[in-house]
């Protein structure tokens, strides 16, 4: 046990970060796309940059790839300063949003490209290209043209092409954006698995919070060219550092000012996740389908109870989304797992009681 600890400590002290950004700034004319960003991605990590479109996350990726030169700051890969290094000399490959497969080359030639330009012998590069195609389960497609493939298959070719010579870091720019939902979920699992088996550092850019939450070891929420919060998915979800993060990662009820005093009972800005609120008939027992960790009257923490009127009910598959309007017009969204025992008044127009553990209304800096 002690030995493991020592070796892991040695590792953390000797291994440089896979990617390190130091006060990196990028201006496009008068627009500041990236604003003094500090970022460290550890080796072997699955790291996501999550943010709305126009937040600067793709620019960050392009800076790491070398397609853009920073206006200021410093970029390091594996401890080496690469700020001024052109993309072809960085040990980093990119999976592009539009895949950017070479249309005039076969799948095999596409995949072998990194080896071709490095002058690897033909026999070896074909063998390695076929290996890479096997990794992404595309054997038998080697001689096809990209135009003859489906979206999911092109995605896999792009992955194989970027992994064929095992770069230190793989950059993925919204790689699943063009796929349909089922395929996207399948690819999420596959990407995660691929990252685990290859041990390559993955840096993913996405606007899809679910994608970032399910795949990443750590993620950074980007907004207006700055990083709002960095941390493991659970931490970012459970303890958003800012109101923006609370609203962007998952859905939340954000209460500020007067509304906070009325609903939460304290001044400030608070976030309450919709799945943490229990529904109950005004006079009846607590909702049996609510979170088991917080049964009504549990000694763990004080419970806050309010009553309101159900104004909207949307069945969303696994859960139902209730909108409840409180007496002063404040609205709360409540997610309830679709189990049995739905309180009788949980229908449009019904008078209903809402309750939550006071610790679930957590303050966020606004």
């Amino acid at each position: 046990m002690a030995q493991t600890e020592t070796s892991s400590r040695t590792r953390t002290t000797t291994t440089a970060a896979a990617v390190r950004l130091e006060a990196v700034t990028k201006d496009f004319g008068a627009v500041r796309a990236v604003d003094a960003v500090d970022l460290t991605v550890h080796e072997g990590e699955f790291f996501s940059l999550l943010g709305p479109s126009g937040s600067g996350k793709t620019t960050l990726l392009r800076l790491v790839a070398g397609f853009e030169r920073p206006t200021g700051g410093r970029i390091e890969l594996a401890g080496h300063d690469v700020t001024a290094m052109p993309p072809n000399r960085r040990d980093v490959h990119t999976v592009f949003q539009d895949y950017a497969l070479f249309p005039h080359m076969s799948v095999e030639q596409n995949v072998a490209y990194a080896l071709t330009v490095r002058g690897v012998r033909k026999a070896e590069r074909l063998a390695r290209a076929r290996d890479a195609l096997t990794t992404v389960r595309l054997d038998g497609f080697a001689s096809r043209r990209p135009a003859e493939l489906s979206g999911g298959q092109r995605q896999r070719v792009a992955l194989a092409r970027a992994l064929v010579d095992r770069p230190a870091v793989l950059l993925l720019d919204e790689p699943l954006g063009a796929l349909d939902l089922a395929l996207r979920q399948e690819m999420q699992a596959e990407l995660k698995e691929l990252q685990r088996t290859t041990g390559i550092t993955f840096l993913l850019v996405t606007h899809d919070q679910e994608e970032a939450l399910t795949m990443s070891d750590r993620l950074a929420v980007v907004r207006d060219g700055r990083i709002e919060q960095t941390g493991p998915p659970v931490e970012v979800y459970e303890h958003p550092a800012t109101a923006f993060v609370a609203g962007f990662v998952g859905t939340t009820n954000l209460l500020r000012g007067e509304a906070a005093v009325r609903v939460v009972g304290r001044p400030g800005t608070y976030s309450i996740r919709p799945e943490r609120i229990l529904l109950a008939d005004p006079a009846g027992p607590a909702d049996p389908a609510g979170p088991a960790a917080a049964p009504a009257g549990s000694p763990a923490g004080g419970r806050r109870t309010v009553t309101g009127r159900v104004t909207d009910v949307v069945h969303a598959g696994a859960h139902t989304r209730f909108t409840v309007t409180l007496p002063h017009g404040d609205r709360l969204t409540v997610h309830r797992q679709n189990l049995t025992g739905l309180p009788e008044s949980a229908r449009p127009g019904g008078e209903i009681r809402l309750s939550w553990d006071e610790r679930d209304a957590f303050p966020v800096p606004s």
Binding site: P87, N88, R89, Y113, A147
Partner: protein, 270 residues
């Protein structure tokens, strides 16, 4: 859209008439080149190969054909180099005055040939004459290049707009040096556009007469100029017909190929 039977019949007739108007005269030229009657009487009194033999032995026609080929090849070569570079500059880089440059580049093809002709003639007279370069094949090539560049510029530009910039980035990203990216990715994607642009540029140069008249010296005769001069001479008229017939055949093929190439959306077949 669904059309009634009558509408379809009418449209069909109009189309047929339109196409006939364009192409029957061409057929006539082909026919007359083997018409035994010297004054092209109709119907032909008989078929003959006399004119074709005469044309083959006409020094004037042969000389003019050579001049046209040289002028066309040289102008096309210049256009391919300058047009491609210009298209790259305008479509792949941002710089001050980009739109103006693009506009100025395309202008020569919109200007009436007679204006370009006069302007070039005056310019050559004031600039080239004093340094001892007279009017001749060289001035014709320069004159033709002014509009041939536009053709290549437009063709290559259109292709560049269709090629995702991410392709060149992907190539660099995978470790290719700039010249490798050009060789493996950019050039193959451009190849058919270059070929189509070159063919069109050559065809344009080959049948140009207005600018040529103003930029050629007295001894330099391209094929169109030769035809124009000889059309009026009664005993040369049948030979002119043969040359015209040859030109029809010679232009149909490259134009057909160029059209096939530029409609090729994948852009990578050639």
């Amino acid at each position: 859209m669904r059309l009634s039977r009558t509408a379809r019949a009418v449209l069909g007739c109009v189309t047929a008439a339109g196409l006939a108007l364009v192409h029957v005269p061409l057929l006539l030229v082909l026919l007359n080149s083997v018409n035994a009657d010297r004054s092209f009487g109709w119907p032909p009194s008989g078929l003959t190969g006399r004119w074709w033999r005469a044309a083959l032995h006409s020094d004037g026609a042969r000389q003019a054909l050579l001049t046209s080929l040289w002028a066309g090849l040289a102008a096309t070569a210049i256009a391919l180099v300058l047009g491609t570079l210009a298209a790259y500059a305008v479509h792949r880089h941002r710089f001050f005055g980009r739109r103006t440059v693009s506009f100025l580049l395309v202008l020569p093809i919109a200007l009436p040939g007679i204006v370009s002709g006069i302007a070039l003639n005056a310019a050559f007279r004031t600039v080239l004459d004093p340094i001892g370069v007279g009017f001749g094949l060289f001035t014709v090539v320069v004159g033709h290049a002014t509009f041939c560049v536009v053709i290549v510029f437009n063709n290559v530009g259109a292709r560049l707009r269709r090629i995702a910039p991410s392709l060149a980035e992907a190539s660099a990203d995978l470790g290719a040096r700039p010249w490798q990216t050009f060789r493996h990715v950019t050039f193959p994607a451009m190849r058919s556009a270059l070929f189509a642009g070159g063919l069109l540029a050559f065809a344009l140069s080959f049948d140009e007469i207005v600018v040529t008249t103003f930029t050629a010296g007295p001894g330099t005769r391209t094929l169109p100029v030769w035809i124009y001069e000889n059309l009026a001479r009664p005993h040369q008229a049948p030979v002119v017909n043969v040359v015209a017939a040859l030109l029809i055949v010679a232009s149909v093929v490259p134009v057909y190929i160029a059209q096939r190439l530029s409609s090729d959306t994948a852009g990578g077949r050639l």
